[in-house]
């Protein structure tokens, strides 16, 4: 029953595993609407796959995609919640939120959060103190109780990770 037929196309996969995927997602989101949305996105991703290889193990492939979307979804919700909270706390009265503004900010911030999530804790902490709080390296050294040289090393690591994140190794297939 697991889609082992080499020539199975996305329509067949949907017919055979769609309901199963929604149940699988429902078990993880505990929300039928989110599960349905994420299931739909999963099949969209499947259709957009750059390699039109035949689907071999459909359920495995579906869970790989769905898990990734689930993690993205959680991150996006975290970022949106944090952005709305920060806005409520800090905004000027003449600065109302529009849906466009929220969507734009969340897209940018989500990208930055994803980048940061790939950094080791100490590297991220040093990097954030520099970029978000604007501290000089000497002040970061004091704050973290490490040497100036270590701060430089962590910051350099952060730069290298930023590069690796933005310019991944894979061929840039469209």
């Amino acid at each position: 029953m697991r889609g082992s037929v080499a020539t199975m196309d996305v329509g067949d996969v949907f017919a055979e595993h769609g309901a199963w995927l929604r149940r699988w997602l429902h078990g993880r989101t505990r929300c039928p609407h989110r599960a349905a949305d994420l299931a739909q996105d999963t099949f969209c991703r499947l259709i957009e796959r750059p390699d039109a290889l035949p689907i071999r193990d459909a359920r495995n492939l579906l869970t790989v995609i769905a898990r990734r979307l689930l993690i993205d979804d959680i991150r996006r919700r975290d970022v949106e919640r944090a952005f709305l909270a920060a806005h409520a706390e800090l905004h000027e009265p003449a600065d109302p939120l529009t849906p466009e503004r929220i969507a734009q900010a969340v897209q940018l911030l989500e990208g930055l959060a994803l980048l940061l999530s790939g950094m080791p804790a100490i590297v991220r902490e040093a990097f954030l103190l520099r970029r978000i709080e604007g501290l000089a390296h000497a002040d970061i050294a004091d704050r973290l109780g490490i040497s100036d040289r270590s701060v430089k090393r962590h910051i350099a690591r952060a730069y290298a990770l930023c590069y690796a994140h933005a310019y991944p190794d894979e061929e840039r297939a469209v």
């Binding site: 991703r45 796959r49 750059p50 039109a52 495995n60 492939l61 790989v64 898990r67 990734r68 993690i71 975290d78 970022v79 944090a82 909270a85 920060a86 806005h87 706390e89 800090l90 905004h91 003449a94 600065d95 109302p96 529009t98 466009e100 900010a105 897209q107 911030l109 990208g111 930055l112 959060a113 980048l115 940061l116 999530s117 804790a121 991220r124 954030l128 520099r130 970029r131 978000i132 000089a136 390296h137 430089k152 090393r153 910051i155 350099a156 952060a158 730069y159 290298a160 930023c162 590069y163 690796a164 994140h165 933005a166 310019y167 991944p168 894979e170 061929e171 840039r172 297939a173 469209v174």
Partner: protein, 322 residues
Amino acid sequence: MLIDRPSPLIVARAAEWAALFDDVTVTDADKAAFERWCAEHPQHRPTFERMAGVVARFDGLDLIERRTIAAVDSGRRLRRRVAGGMACLALLLAGGLAARQSYAVRVLWPDQRTGAGEQRQLALADGSRLTADTRTRFDDLRNGDTREILLFEGQLMAEVSRDPARPFVIRTREGTATALGTAYSVRRDGAGRSVVTVIESRVRLCPAKAADHCRTLFAGQRAAITPDAIGPVETVDPEIAALWTTGWIEVHDRPLPDLLGELARYRPAPIRFDASELAAVRVTGSYPLTDPDAALRSIAAAGALRIEQASDGAITLRRAAR
């Protein structure tokens, strides 16, 4: 220009330089040493500059965005133990999706991006010139053998220097437009189409998923690429079609909503209007794209329309009461 992929050693060294220049204390001797390093290899400076470009995205954040990043980070630390296992598993399983992920990442971190209302001209090392329109993001993938631009969003005009050995290609998700001559533009319209307009000579269009459905367009022709097909060919005035690169738009007896849709691309905040109310209003004239608010004022004055500006910058256009 980046030539192939820099070695891990070059990336690490560029990161050390970046960390040195990251702090407030930089000496003239440091700067001189950096310049010597840059001169050692053609990949050195571009790698450093790309790296600095990624990090610079943090510097443009406003107070609210900074607070958001800090809050997400501290929330994440509390949950790390739980989520870590899941994220690792997903990474292990996701190998087959690398190419897809790579595109998603590159869209967020393009080599070049322009903001709302911004236009930018780039002189390329091979003598070609690119003009990037408002809200455009693209990667420059040129190396010794190929000249390829990956357009994620927005519009580009390419004026291509002749080099038969190295075709000049603008690639989008929908397909490719390869220069057979000199000047053409490609615009992703946000509805899954890449619209190609040929200003001079010829351009070959190929859909991403139907390589045998290519088609050659000539000067003054325009067609949309979708992943599976090339759409019907329209005829345009090449001079008017290229006018945006000078910061202007010229329209002849067009419905006002069309023009407003164009101008909206150049404003950070939206332009709101009731399309059915304004559809009957026709406009003719030249309008400055790089100053859309001035364009709107002149449109409103000519068409007896009322402009309301909200505190967030959004503009609403209505018919003035008779």
